[in-house]
């Protein structure tokens, strides 16, 4: 027996992997983790991808996802070991004593059923409430979570509400059967920062009101610091440290945690514009057909060797700007000047030199590289295509590029699948550098990476900029990244340029309402930051 209501002891989790061309082998992904949780407390689980945080979160409901097996240890919930109660016992437990909120609410709701039906389902299934009772409770939760028109909200279908609202609806679903424990698995990661803050506040308030205990899984330390009482830092399936949220943020005892806390705090000194701009967008208006204009009269300049950060939430037109500049989407009005000359609007009309001097790096490095080509082919192709370099000379230059991105010769014959996320992104950087470009468009290049890896990529980009004098058009939704790389900033909102200027100009008050909202919504590594922002901000997110 145990004194805590959730007591995980020596939890070991394993899986079978199938490496190509080899025999399947069993690996251990969580190596003996202990967790104790008191009633009504919130524990944040934090770590980089592959740390085992989601796996541990799910194990507290006795579940292993996608071939993952709990191979050892005990999970006591309300005094009994749930690993020993069998499938029927687990069925009675899940959705009643423990509930789950997933990262993608959009993928978790059944699109063919109304929200209310899905939200009260588990309460009815377990006989916790009558239907009328459960629906009344759901409406109360809708109100507490700040959802619009709580009486009628449940009558909508999942596609009729926004992403932030859907995530809150899923929280209502988790709260409905009055569980003792809720597992939140990255509930705000897929949301815009401006929406995230409201969902975060709603979740925190709901936890406080109902007194439910929670495990909050995320990779973002600043987020978890706002909602948790305790934080446990995980790495490679082992605990690094566990302490109160306050101590972890202000006085961590381990080096790894210190690195996590200090990440994103680096500031990049702003450079003054020199010479003629390499890229000038003049009054660009673009549309994907039809009457809806996704870009309205956008103008911006970028100088050689500098970084222009384009920021904004999803749907603001950031990526469309990139598509217009690359020629994938010819604008309906306006023109683009590149290095002083007018660039033909469509890709097919541009010369090989136009294409060479304007390169692009993508968000998802693993789909930006052909999985059937070796790293040598991927990086060597632009050398051959633009400069006609072949054979031994090409290999030599490729190795030189690999050295530049800090990977080295040993990578040349490998395939993309054999590389980590950060390494893949480095190869994509090398591929664009091989063309000796004047401008590289970086579309959310660090968004899919763990914070420490992302920091390394940003540092590499800055070093290369200093060396090659290449300009970056850096598209991102993450303002912390902007601070550490940009020389000038363009804030976009609903297809328009909201605010534009040098970094200092844009980040110095007075702000317009939207810029204020965007800037204030970026989570900071401070306890009590959430409450402070909610009390002082000027407008709400468009997602509400």
């Amino acid at each position: 027996m145990t004194d805590s209501f959730l007591d995980i002891r020596g939890l070991k989790i394993g899986a079978t992997v199938y490496p190509p061309g080899e025999k399947p082998k069993d690996i251990e992904i969580v190596h003996g983790v202990d967790i104790k949780l008191e009633k009504g407390k919130v524990l944040g689980l934090i770590g980089e991808s592959g740390a085992g945080k989601s796996t541990i979160g799910l194990a507290s409901m006795g579940y292993g996802r996608g071939g993952v097996r709990i191979t050892g240890g005990e999970v006591f919930l309300n005094g009994r070991d749930i690993l020993k109660i069998g499938a029927k016992g687990l069925r009675g437990l899940r959705g009643k004593e423990v509930t789950y909120v997933s990262q993608s609410a959009a993928a978790s709701f059944n699109p063919a059923k109304r929200l209310m039906e899905q939200i009260v389902e588990s309460a009815l299934e377990h006989g916790v409430h009558s239907r009328a009772d459960a629906e009344a409770r759901a409406v109360k939760h809708f109100r507490d979570l700040g959802l619009p028109d709580p009486e009628n909200f449940g009558k909508r279908y999942p596609h009729q509400v926004s992403g932030g609202q859907l995530q809150r609806a899923m929280t209502a679903m988790a709260l409905c059967p009055e569980p003792d424990l809720i597992v939140f698995d990255e509930p705000t990661t897929a949301l815009d920062v401006t929406t995230q803050i409201d969902v975060l506040a709603a979740i925190k308030e709901a936890i406080r009101k109902t007194g439910v205990a929670a495990i909050y899984v995320t990779h973002d330390l600043a987020v978890v610091a706002q909602v948790s009482d305790d934080i446990m830092v995980l790495r490679h399936g082992k605990m690094v440290e566990r302490d109160t949220a306050e101590t972890i943020i202000t006085n961590p005892s381990q080096d790894y945690t210190r690195a996590l806390v200090s990440v994103k705090s680096s500031e990049h000194p702003e450079k003054a514009p020199v010479g003629e701009p390499v890229l000038q967008c003049k009054n660009i208006t673009a549309s994907y057909g039809g009457d809806v204009k996704v870009l309205k009269n956008v103008s911006m300049d970028l100088y050689p060797g500098q970084t222009l950060a384009v920021v904004g939430e999803s749907g603001s037109g950031k990526s469309t700007t990139a598509r217009v500049i690359t020629g994938l989407l010819p604008p309906i009005e306006g023109e683009i000047l590149f290095d002083g000359r007018v660039l033909p609007p469509a890709l097919a009309q541009r010369s090989r030199d136009d294409l060479r001097e304007l390169q692009m790096i993508y968000q998802m490095a693993d789909v930006a590289m052909n999985p059937r080509q070796t790293i040598g082919t991927i990086i060597g192709r632009p050398l051959e295509f633009y400069f006609g370099i072949k054979g031994a000379e090409k290999r030599k230059k490729t190795i030189k590029l690999l050295d530049k991105i800090e990977l080295g010769e040993s990578f040349i014959d490998r395939y993309p699948a054999e590389l980590s996320g950060g390494q893949k992104q480095r190869v994509c950087i090398a591929r664009s550098l091989a063309a000796k470009p004047k401008l590289i468009i970086c579309d959310e290049v660090t968004s899919a990476l763990d914070p420490l890896v992302a920091e390394g990529i940003l540092k590499l980009l800055l070093d290369l900029q200093a060396e090659e004098n290449v300009a970056y058009l850096f598209i991102t939704h993450d303002l912390a990244t902007v601070k550490s790389i940009a020389d000038s900033i363009a804030v976009m909102y609903q297809g328009k340029l909201q605010r534009y200027g040098t970094k200092t100009e844009v980040l110095t008050p007075p702000f317009d309402d939207y810029t204020d909202l965007l800037l204030s919504s970026v989570p900071e590594m401070k306890i009590g930051w959430l409450e402070h922002v909610l009390a002082t901000r000027k407008m709400e997110s468009a997602g509400n």
């Binding site: 199938y18 190509p20 061309g21 994938l328 890709l347 998802m364 789909v367 052909n370 999985p371 080509q373």
Partner: protein, 270 residues
């Protein structure tokens, strides 16, 4: 590399069928159309599989028939794959009206039952081996077109293809270097299946009298020649029928294994 038992059996049977087809004149004990005994003689040491409806050695006809069947099926499969996949990839990469025209034409051809269309064409055209290969190959190319277009449309929107387009690569590079290597595993599995369909298709045509013409042998035609024997309890028709079935199953086993091998990069098993 460990080969699963099923695939191993498939490989052994498939390769022995192909070897038999290649070396047919060397292995066959008698000539293809040589009458060497009585009608429907039972199996004996002289005629291992007995004789057929006019006294020809069944084993020899099986071997020569296998050669014809496998040769035509292979040639038609290659033809259908080359035309189908090149057109399918082109439609996917170019898109627009080219895609519309090709796809609607393929819909049109597929709307007519293949066998009936083949029967109509073959009943007005002179029947020769070349004609059979062309008719079977082009009719089947519609199915390969659909598959390869669907696969290529998926790949065409991947970032690495966009990166190649932004680099200024031509269509030939995009089709053969970016799309084809990634479309290969579903296509190879389909290759096996299409080969089997070709064998069945040819056998059906011959059984109906519009395929290989006597006295040349092929398995479908041999079923037809000997089918009257079944009512007298003579199993001569069952031997070519069994050969068709065994070839179909063993090629399928190999295709299955190839599919699971080539997709193992993306987490497949076995």
């Amino acid at each position: 590399m460990r080969i699963p038992t099923g695939a191993l059996i498939g490989l052994i049977f498939t390769s022995s069928f192909f070897l038999m087809a290649i070396f047919a004149p060397l292995i066959a004990p008698y000539g293809m159309a040589e009458v060497v005994g009585g009608v429907w003689e039972p199996m004996s040491s002289k005629h291992w599989l007995g004789t057929d409806n006019i006294g020809r050695d069944l084993l020899s006809r099986m071997i020569f028939g296998g050669q014809v069947t496998i040769f035509i099926a292979t040639a038609a499969t290659i033809l259908s794959f080359v035309t189908g996949s090149v057109l399918g990839f082109t439609a996917a990469v170019i898109g627009g009206w080219v895609d519309q025209a090709l796809s609607r034409f393929v819909d049109l051809v597929m709307a007519i039952p293949t066998l009936i269309l083949a029967l109509v064409i073959l009943s007005v055209m002179p029947i020769s081996i070349l004609m059979l290969i062309m008719v079977m190959g082009f009719l089947d190319a519609t199915r390969v077109f659909r598959l390869s277009r669907a696969v290529a449309v998926d790949i065409n929107v991947m970032d690495y293809v966009e990166a190649a387009k932004l680099r200024g690569e031509g269509r030939i590079w995009i089709i053969f270097r970016e799309i084809l290597p990634n479309a290969l595993s579903p296509l190879i599995a389909e290759l096996g299946l299409r080969f089997i369909f070709m064998v069945l298709f040819l056998s059906t045509l011959s059984f109906l009298g519009l395929g290989i013409q006597p006295p040349s042998a092929d398995w479908g035609g041999m079923v037809k020649e000997n089918k009257e024997g079944i009512v007298f309890g003579i199993g001569a028709a069952l031997i070519p029928a069994a050969a068709i079935a065994i070839l179909a199953i063993s090629v399928n086993l190999v295709a299955d294994w190839v599919l699971s091998r080539t997709t193992s990069l993306k987490g497949g098993r076995g």
